[in-house]
């Protein structure tokens, strides 16, 4: 049944945010095409200004999309388990831990797809002649460079995924506590606060690990990742317990 739950959680994300990814890639494509214009056209039309505008939008979206993914995954968790939709969810013939796990996995997949879309956009952009218009060193954006980066740091990727899982699980636990104990007033601000706190703490530790790819570093990273995963598992267990015992919708 877990796979069926996953099917609907992923379906939800694509129906809600999927269009943003397409918009992102679309803008990158348009931008690349614009750079093919001749210098004459650029000077005589407002090509330069249009270009800069679209470029800024692209840049902002690259940061906004991951935030939107996290926000949407919170919203999905809250609505599906603790709003009127919960009357449907909690009467499905599945154990409660599958409900949580399915949403965790769907959020991670969604993050992955979001970044894939952003990288695709960046790749399209990097193939263009943008350095004619903006003084930009495009070599750092090339997809080849990015792939090399990930190949050398697979452990770092694993850590990032573990940290993401922790981030999402913290969010889920927080939402569950709020709902089962009917805590009002904390709301969105506290949710965002936790999110940003984790967003700064975790990358810091990830950056520390980036610099430590040696024999000792491997052990450190392993301990770090295991710690993250243990904490996530603890939160998962706690969330499941709260839902089983104290659900109140």
């Amino acid at each position: 049944m877990l796979s069926k739950l996953l099917k609907y959680d992923i379906l939800y994300f694509f129906k809600n945010i999927g269009i943003l990814y397409i918009v992102y890639i679309g803008i990158a494509a348009v931008l690349s095409l614009l750079t093919l214009m001749s210098d004459e056209t650029i000077k005589h039309t407002y090509g330069g200004i249009v270009f800069i505008t679209f470029f800024c939008i692209l840049f902002i979206l690259a940061y906004a999309i991951p935030i939107l993914v996290i926000a949407d995954s919170s919203r999905r968790f809250k609505n599906n388990l603790f709003s009127d939709e919960g009357y449907l969810t909690h009467t499905l013939p599945v154990p409660s831990w599958q409900l949580i796990l399915s949403k965790l996995i769907a959020s991670l997949i969604n993050m992955f797809v979001a970044y894939a879309a952003i990288f695709t956009g960046v790749m399209i952009f990097s193939m263009s002649k943008a350095d004619r218009i903006i003084d930009l060193n495009l070599s750092s954006l090339s997809v080849g460079w990015q792939i090399e980066l990930f190949k050398e740091n697979t452990m770092a990727v694993a850590i990032i995924i573990a940290c993401l899982a922790l981030l999402i699980m913290t969010d889920f636990l927080f939402i569950t506590i709020k709902a089962t104990f009917s805590i009002k007033g904390l709301g969105v601000l506290a949710n965002l606060g936790i999110f940003f706190a984790l967003c700064f703490i975790l990358p810091f530790f990830a950056a520390v690990c980036f610099g430590e790819i040696n024999a000792d570093g491997w052990i450190q990273m392993l301990i770090f990742t295991s710690g993250i995963l243990l904490i996530s598992a603890g939160m998962f267990f706690l969330t499941d317990l709260l839902i089983k015992k104290s659900l109140n919708i």
Partner: protein, 232 residues
Amino acid sequence: MSELINVSGVSKCYSSKPALENIFLTLESGRITALLGPNGSGKTTLIKLLSGLLTPDYGTITINGLPVGPETKAIVSYLPDRTFIPKWMKVSDILDLFQDFYADFRREAAEGMLKRLNIDLGIKTKALSKGNLEKLHLVLVMSRNAKLYLLDEPIAGVDPAARDYILDTIITNYDPSATILMSTHLITDIERIIDDVVMIHDGRIRLHGAADDLRGQYGKSIDEIFREVFRC
């Protein structure tokens, strides 16, 4: 007639206020039972406990010999007094969902009923009128071949013609091997379709018996018996 539901010594409190106190109740299979009581008497709490949405603070509940959990959820079809279909779904999406999760879902029967109601399968549920949305919920719940149907106020807040439609749908889809537990205020409308009556007040059961027997015994309709039992 075998025992389908066994509620034993069940109590449930909401933040120190008792909603149900020491309830003992058994329901046989194959009967339509009305759960009657004033607002706040514990009707909805009892139904939510049976559906698995709530867990009792004390006592046990078994359905078909199994404790309440994923296995009982597979044989129980629950119609709450709220709309539960996600607003982003189309009608065909929610039919897919029911088909995916419930082995006892009869999709052709559901589609047939929706066609007769002129509800197009491609519409988003948020575009449906309130009446059609409620009928959609009823169609989904009654299209399952469940062993137990829990209906929480199925005809409240609905116009008389729709009420007739709902009661007719319940009767025509009713399989005599199945059990229906229906909570309601509108007793007169359901008088002729119920087998048994359970009256509940302040979290305790006041009366439990066969409807026709009670009518014969008191010489009154269930509605009138209710008014007597619950005279303010």
